[in-house]
Symmetry: none
Subunit: 200 residues, 4 copies
DNA sequence: GATGAATGAGCGTTCATTCAT
DNA sequence: AATGAATGAACGCTCATTCAT
């Protein structure tokens, strides 16, 4: 059975994502999913470990989406575009994930867990880009900077949704806006790939 | 007089920046600057308003730095580069500011205050870019997307410092790393400006 | 179970009755009955609601005593005397109740709750007196004034116990003094009933 | 000058009377009369002594009203009626006084001060009644009981104003209601005096 | 006479956690 | 697997009071 466990995870996901780790009380989680507060500790021991489990569930889903895209057989620039595309779609379908990430990273907490998941992905990314464009190693478009910049461009659009909404007057998470931003990101990628090709 | 007020602001800045709003207790702030807990409430009324005052102090400094750069007389691309440069320098010298921003924005709190400061700056930015490159309006390199992307690229490097450190094995906030990233950002800007020039 | 709940109620009764709502700290209540301070909020949510519950318990007891006396079959004057008698006895056995009432009513707080309990009793009282002595309606011995006066005479003896003690040099709550005052009240009632009979 | 002293007393009177001793903060008093909080302590030392001064001012006024009425030359029953009349008028013109009294007496605080003022008045009252109606000494209409009862009847009407308002649906402190209650009290006094005359 | 700054003690309340059942 | 009762620690905040000016 263990139906309670999943319901707790869902409620914790919602509240941690919406309010943040500190601002979420275990009492709220228990109330939201209709179980006793003590049951949370029975299943997850501490609030910290419950948060860990929520993050872990997200990373499981994310890797299921990104690994096939990264491991594809096509040319590198197309796979990079596919990853940007897939990552935007994933954040759109898991809109609380990016906010959770931003908050906790900036808080310096749970960073080990996040880094542990990012390091292998990042390693593969750097290796792939450097294999495709060996001349750029160490240049202004070196793989590590590129990856961080694209990661930043994608995630900022989601994490800053409330700010962007206030600035542009439209909902940055609405489908047409997301598509527009995706086209923008792919164009940026094009510019970079063209520059890398020239450097070659 | 009012020496206590400044000392409280300094301590609040440090703790809010390091731990976040929720994870910082007024008791900690009082202990850090050696004043009585009640004095915080005497000067700032609530913890919320103290945080507000800390942010406000940062925005005061930031505007003092950015406004002259934005209002310069030179060609637009050079002013854009100057702004990227100045913003990176500001975040380097106020390394807690970007983390505070990331956290609170992602938490959806204090967003009104942040937006209130960003809107005018953003408005000027969009108008300036569109005046310099009128053909791009509405395209994949439209001013709003560009601004958000560059803002995201700059701030991510700082806010994700702990992650980047774990990934690269070097301190991303060390002078040489910051310079390298600045060159990367300026190169990205070059690519965009070139593309905009071609579109013209 | 729920042994703690009753012990908290008892301790709250004692301290609210002795010191008043404002002058009683939840910490004191917890210490008096040997439970943790947080348990009070677990069972009663707020200090306000705890006070409410204490009052409610008193009204439950009071109604159990007075309703049978009021609903008796005998002649009205005898039932009035019975009520004075029963009310004095009740206040003697629940000596903190009248002080709590005086204080909170005079403070204008919890008045809704008190009025909610008094209104039906008062309504029955007025109707009964007016049915027995119809000619007095609107006169100087009109039922509402009479009821307030007798209520005032009874309760003042208890609520002003410390003053009366200082004035008379004897304990007004000692059995013989209470009996003397009860005889006084019944004599006052006699005078009124005789006057009402004459007016008829 | 000492203008500040009087303004503090007025503000303290209003707030103590309306909210009670505990529920009134010195900060509120200072804000209400527009002086600095520390000035209260400069003039009155402690909150306790400030309350004492407020009460003292009331007793000064009350004695100025009642002493001439009690010391009159006419027959005792008429002087008793005059006292009831004068006391009702005084409480009407100083409507916060009775609430303050009820509250603090029931709280058992400031009782020494109150008793100190009541004892001489009470002594004179008892002596006068016993001189006029010597046969009643120790009976059911003995002077102490009578005085407490009439004091209770008068003051209850004022102190229980919120309750009476909820019960009767009219404002018990409105002029016509006060007059009606005064007539009621004088009628009660008549009944007692007639009974005392018969006992003679 | 009057003030702004500062304090120590205490407030009601909430927290994550534990435990017996 | 699940619960109601209970706890110790900490929370933001308010209090009457003090003090230097």
């Amino acid at each position: 059975m263990a139906k309670g466990r999943e319901r707790i995870l869902d409620a914790a996901d919602e509240l941690f994502g919406e309010l943040g780790f500190d601002a979420t009380a275990t009492r709220q989680i228990a109330e939201l999913c209709g179980v006793n507060k003590a049951l949370i500790h029975y299943h997850f021991d501490t609030k910290e470990r419950l948060f860990h489990a929520v993050l872990e569930r997200y990373y499981g889903r994310l890797e299921q989406v990104l690994v096939p895209l990264a491991a594809g057989e096509g040319p590198v620039p197309e796979r990079m575009a596919g990853l940007v595309d897939g990552y935007v779609d994933f954040l759109r379908d898991n809109h609380r994930f990016s906010r959770m990430l931003q908050r906790e990273i900036a808080s310096g907490r749970h960073v080990e867990q996040i880094v542990a998941h990012m390091v292998p992905a990042f390693g593969v990314g750097v290796a792939t880009v450097e294999a495709a464009f060996p001349a750029t190693r160490g240049g202004d478009l070196a793989a590590p900077h590129l990856l961080v910049s694209f990661f930043g461009m994608v995630v900022t659009w989601f994490a800053y949704a409330p700010v962007v909404r206030g600035l542009l007057g439209v909902d940055p998470l609405a489908p047409e806006q997301l598509e527009a931003h995706k086209r923008h990101l792919l164009r940026m990628l094009d510019l970079v790939v063209d520059a890398l090709d020239e450097d070659e």
